[in-house]
Amino acid sequence: MKKGAEIKDTVGNRDRIHVVMTFLSLAFLALSAAILIWIVRIQNGFHVKEKYMDLFTPAPVLHTEIPERGRILATDGRPLAISAPQYDIFMDCTVRKQEFRGIDERERSRLKKLASEGKPVPEAKKAGEAAERLWQKKADSLSWTLAALFPEKTAAQYYDEIIQGRFRKNKAGKEIGNGHLTIHKNVNLDVLNLLKKAPLFREGKYRGGIVVEPHEERIYPYDSLARRVIGYIKDTLRIGLEANFDYELHGTAGHEWRRMTDGDRQYIRELDSTLVKAKDGNDIRTTLNVDFQDIADKALRRQIADDDGIRAGIAIIMEVETGAIRAMVNLSRGKTPETTVWERENLALRQVGEQGSVMKTVTLLSLVEDGYVRSLEQTIPTNNGFVPNYRQDVHILDYQRETGRREISVKHGFEISSNYVFTYLAEKYYGEHPQAMFDHIYAYRLGEAFDFDIDGLATPVVNRPGTPGWSKTTLGTTAYGYGMSVTPLHVATFYNGIAGKGRMMKPYLVESVEKDGVVLKRYKPAVLNNICSRATADTVTRALAAVVNDGTAARLKAAKLPVAGKTGTAQVVLSPEERGGSQDPYHDMGGRKKNQGTFVGFFPADQPKYTILVTVYSYLSRESFYGGTKPALAVREIVDQIYAIDGTWDSRVAFIGHVPAMACTAESEAGRVPNLKGLGLKDALYLAEAAGMRCSYSGAGHVAAQSPEAGSKRKEGETLTLTLK
């Protein structure tokens, strides 16, 4: 029993131990979890000092990757603006100066120590001085290279600057040196590579002192061509397409963390960190045709360069079918005639002003569209060129004197650009309800600044009934181009509408947004308004063609393509400063005025493809010039050159020459040498071998001569010599 009781006790103990062990295990697990939580909590609140962290872990640096700015392209893909880094070159003139001085100082200390120990003192080596002399000699060689690369200074000047920079002192007389001497700014990669091979600079930054600071720069390969349209961004100045399409062009910067390698101390990407790749900007394809722009620029430059009195000139070439601007030239001088002709401001968009007689077309179009003028041959009385309340038109007096007639046709009035004719017509047909004419003006979009691809299109000023500028003569003056101020782009767009048979296209400059040649977004041509019927457009086109054939734009009559258009001469309203106290808005106290002359039209007149506008502006002057002179001459040059290169008017020929088929003319007779002249080599060889003759030949092409001659008696195995040409 006792034994059995012991056994029972043992089992009980074992169960107890099991329970206790289980409990202990669970308790151990709970304790472990608690310890882990405690450790984590400690770690969260525990920060190792940065300087100790830096000692043990290499600090990653954040590298920002600059995206490449998108290109601005011409319509055929030629680049108008591209990005490439340029480099500013500086020199640390003080480089190694202290190192060389240190060599001599250590030497002096060593000798001093020897002297104090009573030991024999050798002569000082002056190795530092020698090294300094060698450095300066290299600087001299560098100066020659710099003078060769940047000839604005001589080698002696460069050398002086470097040496002065090396030993420059501050006001207190302490030698501080120049660690950032400007050598040259905005050099390209080729020049940079040459500089890196120059004496001294080839030793690098820390031994040669070269300091290179790259910066992204915009390159305009065509220099000033279309610069106001292409535009630029410089600090707060934001101009042209560069500014308006900056959101497409600029791209997105990327960044990556980099660390230094343990071995060769190079920065590499930190693989554990996040990487954001730079996204390059998109390209902008414009509607500009570089060749047209070049032609228009040159033609306008020629007109401006010939005359010191001309301040500025504008040329716009627009495609009739689409409204695409193929060229937009904005040339101007500075305040004085001596200044360079350059693309300084976008006058085509900003120069809002009275356009003069070119606006007579607006009146004519309205009259024809409303049915008041049913035929261009319709006549009105001349009335000695006088309409009540208006100034007399002396051109009418001339007309009366020359023709003896007391009536004038609308067509002839338009040809000679008579103010009287258009004042008379406007007063007669719109005098009772002038708003009807202004409704037309607004329908032609001449009263508003429509949406355009670059900012700055000025809002026109139209003195319509009910506005403060309205008076009893406003209708008549508006009819011949005064009293209403618009921009040259408005005028060109209006004429483009007539050329388009009444369909007025919205002018645009950007065709598409692209990325690596793939079109992301395409801007399609848009219609601004249908301004008149086809018949009205045809009638007005006839009138415009008559201006060139028999009127004020006769200089364009001999152009290589028929042109239809209108000249316009206007005086520019002077600013109060220019007027200098004069009450006349168009003249200063000395009676001087500013003129503007315009020709606007389209070509070919019968099937218009391009609308063209050229305007020139004068400085203050007593002289006058007209739209039929300089602007017409520029237009003539432009039209003639576009005719030659556009491709539309290329002639087609089916064949450029006749090459007769080659054939053997004589059959080979037995026992005679065959006639091989005119044959290709292959055929000639075949026939010669068939006749049992050997062949040798020289030249290429067809057989021109043979020896022995054809028809002569042949011998078996004889060699026939052929000359091919």
Binding site: P79, P221, G647
Partner: protein, 113 residues
Amino acid sequence: MSGKEIWTAVRNSLRALRKGEFLLRIRADKLYLHILYLFVLAWLTIMVSLKVDKTLTREGQNKAALEQLKIHHAEKEADLVRIQSASATEKRLQEMGSELRRPVQPAKRTGKK
């Protein structure tokens, strides 16, 4: 385990280390392959890490070289575009004494339109 026993164990270990018998005492020969394996793993880790560094360095250098080429290409392209404009060509021809000028007539092309 009492403190005395721990102290004895530490003292014995130090003595064994001095005599060069430590590994034998703890019977490390049984773990020889594991130690070797650990060593190879450590060696491989270091080697791979160095290789990765080297590759990334080379990648960086190549990237810089490509960037230089890209810049060079852009500059040359701009130069080419500059000299191929009609005005530039005309000017160059004039300077060289050529009488060749811009075309005054449209081209004659072969074939149908």
